[in-house]
């Protein structure tokens, strides 16, 4: 109906309209009853007045005695009372004036003035003309049952109309005051009643935007009985949400530690492999160091082994730098990931097809980008069967960067897809050791305002496609 108007306005408005209707109805009743009473009173007074006058006048009217008629009118005019006759005129039956109380306006021997009601007006009947605040009445002067003349009186009813006006204003004013009091009371009451709703709404909105916080206990204590139950329920919900977030965070930390352990063991393995060769070369140098060929071969061996170790260490340092260095990504940063994934590839005897289409630096932060690609790569390694093939494509496309990781595994389970592509943050990782990496990857992609899709690769495995827009604003997206 009126969705944009708040209850604090709507309820007082409805109350005001209701009261207005009631007061209109009552005022109309009061005023019309008052008018009836006034008219009845006026008729009674007029009857008394005209009875007296016609008795006093009958002889003079019969004789058409101008002076006597005037003298009687003059005397009655001096009488006071509720009734104010503005003008009294005595005429013959055919409307010729014998004498009037105000002879200057209505001279004797003239005809009855035109503002008086027509002669057909019933004797004793009162004609009200409110616009001019006058009432007109006519009364036959009877002698032996025959009308020998008529009294015409014009009455001043302005005091009656004033009284009606005063009553009207009293009604209007008191109703206005009552309505105002009611509206203010309704407004205050509804606002007080709606305050807990506003508190709840604010907490819900804060929960959607970020952290869900319970309603503080003073606010709960202030609320009424119904709202206290509602608040308690909300607080329980808020607490369980918070516990679940904490749990996820802990699991993520554990997963990170676990993958760190795997990486560390891979790293140890990678260093350990050349170490045997190096020790052999050192042994050769000790024994056959004086032989130039042997020495040269051994040194070369040592050199290559140390280089391999150095590359490994450097790449690991670059990837797992504790703080985001905010550096933009270069071709080499991504190529280094081959080295990091190397142990996993070896372990499963996997073939990696690496197609890096980048030719120079791209305006995207290096650290999160490398983590995204490494996680997807390691995930593909996990999913791939022994001796499988993994294909990675990196290319600039549509003003952004496009990453594709395909494997020939069994395809990504629906739940894992949901964790990865979820944009609302409402899907939480599930299970042990699965999904947390994808969940973190999804968050990193969202932080870079990117999108991710999962489809089928040509070989029937999973094909994960990530599209990242270039960081046009120059700012560096926050890395969780």
């Amino acid at each position: 109906m009126m969705p944009r108007v708040s209850l604090a306005i709507k309820v007082p408005a409805v109350a005001a309209v209701f009261l207005l209707a009631v007061s209109l109805f009552l005022s109309e009743r009061v005023l019309s009853r008052l008018a009836e009473i006034q008219t009845a009173h006026l008729v009674t007074l007029t009857r008394v007045y005209l009875d007296g006058l016609s008795t006093a006048l009958v002889d003079a009217v019969l004789r058409e005695d101008v002076w006597e008629v005037y003298a009687v009118l003059d005397r009655t005019r001096q009488g006071d009372g509720d009734l104010t006759a503005a003008e009294t005129i005595v005429t013959t039956p055919d409307g010729r004036v014998i004498a009037a109380g105000n002879p200057r306006r209505v001279p004797s021997a003239s005809m009855l003035p035109a503002d008086y009601p027509a002669a057909e007006t019933l004797s004793g009947e009162i004609v009200l003309r409110e616009p001019e605040a006058r009432a007109y009445v006519r009364r036959d002067v009877l002698y032996n049952g025959r009308a020998v003349g008529a009294i015409h009186a014009k009455l001043d009813i302005s005091s009656l109309l004033d009284e009606r006006r005063r009553v009207l204003w009293t009604l209007v004013l008191s109703n206005a005051v009552l309505t105002l009091i009611l509206v203010v009371t309704a407004w205050v009451t509804v606002r007080r009643m709606m305050r807990p709703v506003a508190v709840l709404a604010a907490h819900l909105e804060a929960g959607i935007a970020g952290e869900v916080t319970p309603i503080p206990s003073p606010a709960v204590a202030r609320a009424g009985h119904e709202f206290r139950r509602l608040f308690a329920a909300f607080n329980t919900l808020a607490l369980s949400c918070r516990e679940r977030e904490d749990l996820i965070r802990r699991l993520a930390d554990e997963e990170r530690l676990a993958s760190l352990g795997r990486l560390a063991s891979g790293l140890a393995h990678e260093i350990n492999n050349p170490l045997g060769g190096l020790f052999n070369a050192v042994d050769t140098l000790k024994r056959h160091g004086e032989r130039p060929l042997a020495r040269a071969t051994a040194l070369d061996l040592i050199d290559r082994g140390l280089r391999g170790i150095r590359d490994m260490v450097r790449t690991t340092l670059a990837t797992y730098r504790a703080d985001g260095d905010g550096r933009t990504v270069d071709v080499q940063d991504l190529d280094d990931l081959k080295i990091l994934a190397g142990p996993e590839l070896l372990r499963n005897d996997l073939v990696l097809i690496w197609r890096n289409g980048l030719t120079g630096p791209v305006d995207l932060p290096a650290s999160p980008l490398r983590q995204i690609l490494l996680n997807l790569l390691l995930n593909a390694c996990n999913a791939s069967p022994q001796g499988g093939t993994i294909e990675v494509r990196i290319a600039e496309a549509d003003g952004g960067l496009r990453l594709e990781v395909a494997d020939d595994g069994p395809g990504m389970p629906a739940r894992a897809v949901a964790v990865l592509v979820d944009t609302t943050g409402s899907v939480t990782p599930f299970g042990r050791g699965h999904g947390l990496g994808l969940w973190m990857t999804g968050r990193l992609i969202r932080d870079l305002r990117g999108t991710v899709e999962v489809s089928r690769s040509p070989s029937g495995g999973a094909l994960v496609t990530v599209a990242l827009p270039l960081d046009r604003e120059g700012g560096i997206a926050r890395v969780a």
Binding site: G52, T55, A56, V66, W67, G79
Partner: protein, 293 residues
């Protein structure tokens, strides 16, 4: 009912008799002789009960007889009572005096501003510019009384001289049976003009200035004999009438008398010859000789 409440002070002029009868006047003498019946016409101005009380005391003391003051609504009633001998004396108008000249005798005549004379005024409302009788043609005209000289006869005679009469000259006429009422009728606009006693108009100019200020004198008549006190001619030499005449002419020498005179704005009373009223008789002949008024 308001219309018939007791007469106000202003209307006692017409109703003195009714109220006077109720007065418990001190009897100076025992009622060995019958009351002296004294009639009053609406010539009277002041309607004060005090005036009547003092007049009665004055007359009783001076005549040695108990006095009964009698008033009626019209001149005609008092005149009829006087002429028929039902009153011993009465203050009447000059017109009935000359009309019944053969049957009435003068007792005394009031003195106003040093003379036994007064005038009739034609009055109109103060905002009219009429300069004479001719300008009042087709008015509604208020007369005082058909037996009044100043309030009827003077104007009727003037119209007779012009060859017309009130019924034709005026649109409508009516009688108010009182000079004060003529002034009220003209002041209120009920009548366009009126014929009124000049003495009454002048005195009311002091006593009821506001009412009189609404009217103005269009034309004043010649000086005529002031309304006299008369008695039936049969009583002209009666000792009681002599005492009454003395009571009137000697009025300024008595406390009550002085109060009465000052209330009436009169200087005193004087014995006068009937010829004083000849001009009124002349007017009457004009009116009766012409059309009947």
């Amino acid at each position: 009912m308001r219309a018939v409440r007791p007469t106000s002070r202003r209307e006692v002029v017409r109703a003195i008799g009714g109220t006077f009868g109720a007065l418990a006047a001190p009897r100076v003498l025992r009622a060995a002789e019958p009351d002296l019946r004294f009639g009053l016409t609406p010539v009277f101005l002041t309607s004060d009960l005090e005036l009547l009380q003092r007049l009665k005391s004055r007359l009783e003391r001076a005549t040695g007889r108990s006095v009964k003051l009698i008033t009626r609504r019209t001149y005609q009633e008092i005149t009829a009572l006087l002429v028929s001998g039902q009153l011993d004396a009465a203050w009447i108008c000059g017109y009935p005096f000359v009309a019944y000249r053969a049957r009435l005798a003068l007792v005394a005549v009031p003195i106003w501003k040093g003379r036994p004379l007064y005038r009739s005024y034609l009055i109109a409302s103060a905002d009219r510019s009429a300069a004479g009788l001719e300008d009042l043609r087709s008015d509604i005209h208020a007369f005082s009384d058909p037996d009044s000289n100043s309030g009827w006869l003077v104007t009727a005679a003037a119209l007779a001289e012009m060859g017309t009469d009130p019924a034709h000259f005026f649109r409508q006429t009516f009688f108010t049976y009182g000079h004060r009422n003529v002034i009220r009728a003209v002041a209120a606009g009920l009548a366009g003009s009126g014929s009124v006693d000049g003495y009454v108009w002048e005195v009311m100019r002091e006593t009821e200035a506001e009412l009189v200020a609404a009217t103005r004198v269009v034309q004043a008549s010649a000086w005529l004999g002031f309304p006299p006190i008369a008695c039936p001619i049969a009583l002209a030499d009666d000792p009681a009438i002599h005492r009454l005449r003395h009571a009137l002419t000697d009025m300024e020498n008595d406390d009550d008398g002085r109060v009465v005179l000052s209330m009436l704005r009169l200087d005193g009373f004087r014995a006068e010859e009937p010829s004083l009223f000849e001009p009124i008789a002349e007017e009457m002949r004009k009116v009766r000789g012409g059309s009947t008024g």
